[in-house]
Amino acid sequence: MKFIIQRDQLIESVQNVMKAISSRTTIPILTGMKIEASEEGIKLTGSDSDISIESFIPQEEDGIVYVEHIEPGSIVLQAKYFPDIVRKLPQKTVEIESDNNRNVTIRSGNAEFHLNGQDPEEYPQLPQLHTEDSFELPIDLLKNLIRQTVFAVSTSETRPILTGVHVKMEDGELEFIATDSHRLASRKIPLEQPEGKALPSVVIPGKSLTELNKILDDSEDTIEVSVTENQVLFRTKHLYFLSRLLDGNYPETSRLIPEQSKTIVKIDAKELLQSVDRASLLAKENRNNVVRLITKENNHLEITGNSPEVGNVVEEVLASDVDGEDLKISFSAKYMMDALKAVDYDQVKVEFTGAMRPFLIRPVDDDQILQLILPVRTY
């Protein structure tokens, strides 16, 4: 294998790929980075077995030549040293060459490094995903979908399936659902389904989505999502992000969402968020961060936080509309704040069905975002 490459391009790719590589892995080969050279360009791969990132540097793009003198081949290099070496090389171009004994030479200007490579055959084979079973959506929309759901995944390993986000496609809608069995976040978007093909519903680990969210830049380019039996692939122009899926059946969540409600409160989201935040100040450590909400006359809401050892806080908030039965309800301030932040609309509608039933938070005129929270029983 041999090629000469622009250093800046290489640095960028290496940095992207490094995000997937972890030094604490049980499979020794995964501490390395795979470099593959073909006539079309150079492909770098990094993986920690949960997620894998592939970055592609084309031989040329828009008339600019990035890679020259390509002799196809592949090699695995120690990821501990390779990125630093590339970053500190003196010249704009880098020559990388490997011989049959897997000795790698990195040359730039007068500097020359010799590294011992590893056998690329040892590296896990990533699935070749078919591009037919896929759909496209804008990157910023995907980032929103992730941001609005992924915070609600469970962090405990007792029910591993809940540590993932359920992604399903039904009736021309793509839906992301996450729940930790105390709250649920869901977001739907309309999506044109490819004709005659039903995408399987999958559960993508929350950690992978968080990572993906960090890697993607906010832009209006599209990203292609493909699903296979055991992996999901997110593909932008030169970056492939693969994640393993969670194994098992996701619980049926549609029945959890109450259809009727007894009390409906419409309120400015920011105001509610801030007052809940204030009320939670005194109840942080013990008592599970619980605040209480009581409906008053004239569209007023009273929000209280109480911690007998410390003190209490009472605040009245004016809602734009309170409709239905009077209500006293307690809930976790953290869940409420997370949900309100995720909804991301000025005006929200909170639908209660009694003090012991879950309640919903939705934007006033958007059905696609839904946050559900279970109340806390207090005496």
Partner: protein, 328 residues
């Protein structure tokens, strides 16, 4: 590089059973391999894993040179998980990692295999965690637990595995082989009764450290018999400086145990079973000192001491207590 044929020679029963279960496509979700050191548990587990993953196998025989086989040998196969004790025991975190691994889909295929070496050294917490997913295996998962003492495993784990007992290799055969390799007869006997593994035995034979172990054990016996007052001194000045690591102490105790076995053998006239053939005279003296019952009691003390070493009791204290018990 083992093949099923070679494995069957080493372990006729276990090898045949595994081969059949593979051929008839009735692979169990969990196996417990139990057998002494050097009986081929690891080799068997590796071979079985290869048979499962190899895509170019013929019958049950893996090809040994495809990508999958090679990666299993080098420990780089992404869907084979290999758990070994981290220090003294297998920790909860290691099992947690495994548990997480199994809630994910496989990296290359959906077939997953995990091998737990020295499974008896799992902490209670770890065992209970493991139990959770031994109980509810997902479809394409195979577990192999390897242990030297199956009895110390939790009953609840044993009952969920298919047990495969690995027979101890014939000590006579090992002994003969050692003699063929040029080891002196008396040494061959001692080595064969300590390990079943030929290469390990040969290494020990070369090792100066081990030669001294034998000498020290005999000196200890001498001290115990003739100068009972100096027992503790001997332990502190001679014995402890030589045995620094836990595994070394275990080895020393193993040899000590062989001595007391010999004393009993001497009583029951099983001359060919005696290991310390060159020390006949001392053995005779020893029979004067220890009765058959007390020799048996001494064996129990040594076993207890071995256990205590495993449980992190201070080695010095263990050895001192043991000397006092043996003098009694």
């Amino acid at each position: 590089m083992q093949t099923w044929e070679e494995m069957k020679e080493l372990q006729p029963l276990a090898g045949q059973m595994l081969m059949n279960s593979f051929k008839k496509d009735r692979i169990s979700h969990a196996y417990l391999f139990q057998g002494n050191r050097g009986t081929g548990k690891k080799d068997m587990a590796l071979l079985f894993a290869k048979s499962i993953f190899c895509k170019e196998r013929e019958g049950a025989e893996p090809c040994q040179h495809c990508r999958d086989c090679k990666r299993i040998d080098s420990g780089n196969h992404p869907d084979l998980h290999w758990i070994e004790p981290d220090g003294q025991s297998i920790k909860k975190e290691q099992i947690l990692h495994l548990q997480k691994e199994f809630t994910y889909t496989g990296l290359e295929s959906n077939r997953k295999v995990y091998i737990i070496v020295d499974a008896d050294r799992m902490t209670i917490n770890a065992s209970n965690r493991l139990l959770k997913f031994l109980e509810e295996p997902s479809q394409q998962t195979t577990a192999m637990l390897l242990t030297e003492s199956g009895q110390t495993m939790l009953d609840t784990i044993r009952s969920r595995c298919q047990l495969l007992a690995f027979q101890p290799l014939n000590a006579k055969r090992v002994e003969e082989k050692l003699v063929q390799e040029g080891v002196s007869e008396s040494n061959a006997k001692l080595l064969a009764s300590l390990t079943n593994n030929l290469t390990e035995a040969l290494e020990m034979n070369e090792d100066e450290w081990f030669a001294n172990v034998r000498k020290l054990v005999i000196q200890l016996i001498e001290v115990l018999q003739n100068k009972p007052n100096e027992g503790l001194l001997f332990i502190n000045h001679q014995w402890m400086p030589h045995f620094k690591e836990r595994t070394q102490i275990q080895r020393g105790l193993d040899v000590l145990m062989l001595w007391f076995q010999d004393v009993i053998n001497q009583y029951v006239d099983r001359d060919d079973a005696i290991v310390f053939v060159t020390e006949k005279e001392r053995l005779n003296q020893a029979t004067m000192r220890w009765s058959r019952q007390s020799a048996a009691a001494c064996l129990t003390y040594v076993l207890e001491a071995k256990q205590k070493i495993n449980q992190n009791v201070h080695p010095n204290l263990v050895m001192e207590q043991l000397t006092l018990q043996l003098q009694r």
